[in-house]
């Protein structure tokens, strides 16, 4: 159980963010804001092992992923946006774009620290202050991050972390003194938020669900495609909004792909997330496990053929074996609804047109993958896919420099890259004489000097 922030706490957090925005953060020069962000990035790198272990303990994802994917990306995000702080004139909004003010950010449980980085780094670099609420079931790393913020000696109030469930989130999003809401999570909650902010001055970006299509043509390098399929849906136990949960295989290679896939899946190791050799960790919560089980049963009931890796599941905790469904058609629930678990639905197609039509036949539009040896085909197909992120001969690759976001019910706004800044800035047109902009009047030197970074917390305790 984690403490739930109530109305008083939310008020206090938003007030602190407002004060910090008005008095310090919005007035600091970009160069100085950048220095703080670089500092945070370095501290994250220094404490990355500790954070990785905490993330795996909290979320259930294998340490291999939190160590090799989550944490390096978290640091990369802060480094990337730190670099933007003094270059906002080049963000595409004209000279001297302005921050929005206090931003309310609500993030999910699938990549707790990474989603925090995606939200906080661009908000801060643009000059906003932040109140962030991590998911109820995965708040640990956000709290450790708060410690890092103190270590980096950020002016008080610039980053505020409050914990709690849906009620806390609602209070935060509906708070009248918030200028911007950013949310990553389910489409259901996204809709609720959109309704809540409608008619207010609040700006909104949403990164919601997905039902990504992974299209494999018959000339694809199959072994690499298999790796991509596995990475697409079994990475992070399928708890990925951009997961390649629908596999579209050209009919001629269907049997071969399924046979190879089954062989490959049998080599995955499921178990203790803290074991460095574990490939598949635990499902995050009982609730999520129940949803995955319900949808899988529905798939069987609708006539799709289920195959699960014949592996032993640990007796304690929430586990679900990597599973694939063949004989899936586009009207099955498992081909339409986001399962958010290690479950792959396999469909077939005959022509590129059919592949495109099936891939686009979803209310979502976050990600897609194309596997083919032929570059021209990849470009032609990518051109017609309605998805925000398209991977060619790879899947689930992230880079802070590249914008990420969805079409249709997968949300709006982009995170990452120059486009990610636009969600936290507004343009301003200037006419007349005088210096452009009043920012940079508070110098970093007027803020407390930086404390030396604790190298080893254990050593410090011993001393």
């Amino acid at each position: 159980m984690i403490a739930c922030a109530d109305e008083k706490d939310v008020d206090a957090a938003v007030a602190a963010a407002r004060r910090a925005y008005e008095t310090v953060w919005s007035k600091l020069s970009g160069t100085d804001r950048g220095k703080y962000l670089f500092r945070i990035a370095r501290l994250i790198q220094e404490r990355s092992r500790e954070l990785a272990v905490a993330e795996s303990l909290d979320n259930g994802k294998p340490i291999k992923e939190s160590r090799d994917v989550d944490l390096p990306l978290v640091a990369a995000w802060f480094f990337y946006y730190a670099g933007w702080a003094d270059k906002l004139d080049h963000a595409g909004l004209g000279l001297d774009p302005q921050p929005l003010g206090v931003t309310a950010q609500v993030i999910p449980w699938n990549f707790p620290l990474l989603m925090l980085a995606w939200k906080i780094a661009p908000a801060l670099t643009a000059g906003n202050t932040v109140v962030l609420k991590p998911a109820e079931s995965t708040s640990l790393t956000a709290l450790l991050f708060a410690e890092i913020v103190q270590q980096a000696d950020l002016p008080p109030g610039v980053i505020n972390i409050i914990t709690g469930g849906g009620d806390t989130g609602r209070l935060l999003v509906q708070h009248p003194d918030v200028n911007k809401v950013a949310f990553t999570g389910s489409t259901v909650v996204g809709r609720e938020i959109a309704r809540a902010v409608a008619g207010t001055q609040k700006k909104l970006t949403l990164e919601l669900g997905g039902k990504g299509a992974n299209i494999v043509f018959d000339d694809a390098p199959l072994d690499q495609a298999i790796e991509g399929i596995v990475n697409g849906i079994f990475f992070n136990q399928g708890h990925v909004c951009c997961a390649g949960s629908r596999l579209l295989v050209q009919e001629g290679i269907h049997d071969d792909v399924i046979e190879r896939l089954k062989h490959r899946l049998s080599t995955l190791r499921l178990g203790d997330p803290l074991d460095k050799n574990t490939d598949i960790g635990a499902i995050n919560s009982a609730k999520q496990l129940a949803r995955i089980e319900a949808l899988s049963s529905a798939g069987e009931a609708e006539g799709a053929v289920r195959w699960s890796v014949p592996c032993r599941l640990p007796p304690k905790g929430y586990w679900f074996p990597p599973t694939l469904f063949t004989g899936v058609s586009t009207h099955h629930a498992i081909a339409r609804e986001e399962i958010f678990g290690p479950v792959l639905s396999v469909l077939t197609f005959r022509t590129p047109e059919e592949a495109i039509a099936k891939a686009n036949n979803t209310p979502y539009g976050l990600s897609a993958g194309i596997w083919s040896d032929k570059g021209s085909r990849i470009l032609a197909v990518a051109d017609k896919l309605r998805a925000g992120v398209i991977w060619a001969n790879t899947f689930n690759r992230f880079d802070p420099a590249s914008p990420f976001g969805g079409y249709k019910e997968s949300g709006y706004g982009r995170e990452g890259g120059r486009h990610g800044l636009l969600a936290y800035l507004q343009p301003r047109t200037w006419t007349g004489d005088g210096p452009v902009g009043q920012r940079g009047t508070v110098k970093m030197s007027s803020v407390k000097p930086v404390k030396p970074v604790e190298r080893s917390r254990k050593a410090a305790r011993k001393a």
């Binding site: 291999k64 090799d68 072994d223 690499q224 790796e227 046979e259 080599t267 460095k276 050799n277």
Partner: protein
């Protein structure tokens, strides 16, 4: 390929698994000397090491094979005769490089004569090189025919065959597509093993290339139920590296391949590092190069 290879490299093999892995590596080594300066003395010395890699620990397994130039085969046979007689099947194989190794630039007649001579001298295995020139200029059929002909030259008077390892020289074929094609070509032409490199070209064996070849033998097995071996050679010097190869073998082709009849390391200095690591696992501390015998 690189990504998958990198992912396999993060497998953590520690303590008791590491002890098992180190012994396995020794059992899979083709202890090799392929120098212009090779002498009967050098070969005899290496043979002794092949039999008893670590004199301070009698429990150390022997290596899989001794790999030498064709003209050194008689000395190797001689040096290993007594040991192999006493082993009853679990013998150290004698492998000879042939077919104008390492360049392969000779007529087919010369290559076959080279091979036949080594087989007649008692070689159990022939490591041949393919004609990379022919392959790269698109004369794939010619390469195929050459391998088939050399395979015939591996036949002994009693009708049995010396094992044929086909060296693709991946460093010269350079692309994954080429290596993929050449692997299939060699297998279809009758190779018992496909081998990455001569060790005379940089880059020699790399994990991604070996991974690709493992995928080919796995697919061949799926199609025909026949198993072909893989031998990465050259450039694998540390136990850590070698363990990564073992992981790739187990997770790609399958654990059945972790056997001297299906997987080998072509190496000379790898054995020394394995022995050092082995001693450290036993004693808990690192000794030093002086505690491992030189060849």
């Amino acid at each position: 390929m690189e990504q998958r290879a990198a992912a396999l490299s993060t497998r953590s093999i520690k303590t008791s698994s590491k002890v098992l892995a180190l012994d396995k590596i020794i059992e899979l080594i083709d202890l090799t000397t392929l120098e212009g300066a090779d002498t009967p003395g050098k070969v005899r010395s290496l043979a002794t090491k092949a039999i008893q890699p670590d004199p301070s620990d009698r429990g150390t397994p022997h290596v899989a094979a001794l790999c030498v130039y064709g003209d050194m085969v008689p000395y190797a046979v001689d040096a290993l005769r007594d040991f192999n007689r006493s082993r009853n099947g679990d013998a150290i194989q004698i492998a000879a490089v042939a077919t104008a190794f390492p360049s392969g630039r000779a007529s087919l007649e010369v290559k076959c004569a080279d091979t036949a001579e080594a087989v007649a001298a008692g070689a159990d295995e022939i490591d041949m090189v393919i004609d990379r020139g022919a392959f790269l200029s698109g004369r794939h059929e010619e390469v195929f025919e050459q391998i088939r002909t050399v395979k015939e030259a591996c036949q002994r008077p009693d009708g049995s065959y010396a094992h044929l390892k086909v060296i693709l020289e991946t460093g010269e074929l350079s692309t994954y597509d080429n290596v993929h094609k050449a692997s299939w070509l060699a297998i279809l032409a009758g190779a018992d093993f496909i081998k990455t490199s001569t060790g005379k070209v940089v880059p020699a064996a790399t994990l991604p290339m070996t991974l690709l070849m493992l995928e080919v033998v796995r697919d061949w097995y799926r199609l025909t139920s026949k198993r072909v071996g893989v031998k990465p050679a050259g450039g694998i010097r540390s136990s850590k590296d070698a363990i990564r190869y073992l992981v790739a073998v187990a997770e790609t082709a399958g654990e059945a391949w972790l056997h001297p009849s299906l997987f080998r390391f072509g190496a000379s200095s790898l054995l020394d590092d394995v022995l050092l690591q082995r001693q450290r696992m036993k004693t808990g501390h690192y000794s030093g190069p002086d505690y491992v015998t030189i060849d």
